[in-house]
Amino acid sequence: MENYMKLEVPAKSCNESFVRAAVAAFSVQLDLSIEEMCDIKTAVSEAVTNSIVHGYANMKGIVKITCKVIDSVLEIEIADYGVGIEDVSQAMQPLFTSGPEGERSGMGFTVMQTFMDELLVKSKPGEGTVVTMKKRIGG
């Protein structure tokens, strides 16, 4: 099976739950378990929230979401055109956060890594960040 969907939303926190729900609705075609569905929603929430909180630092911007289904693999790409990340491997370390003032725990990337099978982060300061995640459904 091959299918895809594209979504674009302004960087507003009220869109976090909408994007989670939209990706979940698209994923249903894969016949996934409740646990897999929950994993996907959580990982998507982390990436979209990061774009809004860090990428755009709560200023105006656009978050683009692309989902693809290729056989039993769900691929999700979340992109922003925000500030970007200087040091990606440092940012991905558990507990690393650049914004403790908003009570951030520095666990977003760790959650994405744990809940999905693959995680790829591409970023350039001043240009933006693209997070690509894959999950194989049914183990």
Binding site: S13, C14, E16, S17, R20, I34, E35, C38, D39, K41, T42, S45, E46, T49, I52, V53, G102, E103, R104, S105, M107, G108, T110, V111, T114, F115
Partner: protein, 102 residues
């Protein structure tokens, strides 16, 4: 997100319903903090029975309240945790420092 607060002595019971994320976290934090400061709260019970979703923003909220309660010499308890929330609590390491039950 809905939050229902009840004080029993020096213990605050916060019943949460709905989704905990970056959008709803400030509301939860402010509601609990206000109550903790008005009354002389020492212990905090978070009732997660109706929590349908939580991401790392929730970890931040819980960790922040834990620090404050610890400073007051009290305890934080999370009760009626559902499987979808259990996984993120586990990863966060919060389960090793808090009293969590299903």
């Amino acid at each position: 997100m809905d939050i229902n607060l009840e004080t029993i002595g020096t213990t605050l019971v916060a019943k949460l319903s709905g989704e905990i994320d970056h959008h709803t976290a400030p509301h939860i934090r402010d509601a609990i903090d206000r109550e903790m400061n008005i009354r002389n709260i020492v212990n905090l019970v978070l009732d997660f029975d109706n929590v349908t979703f939580m991401d790392s923003s929730g970890i931040g909220v819980i960790a922040g309240r834990y620090k404050e309660i610890q400073a007051r010499g009290g305890k934080v308890m999370i009760i009626r945790v559902k499987p979808q929330v259990d996984k993120i609590l586990e990863i966060s390491g919060l389960k090793t420092i808090l009293d969590c039950s299903h």
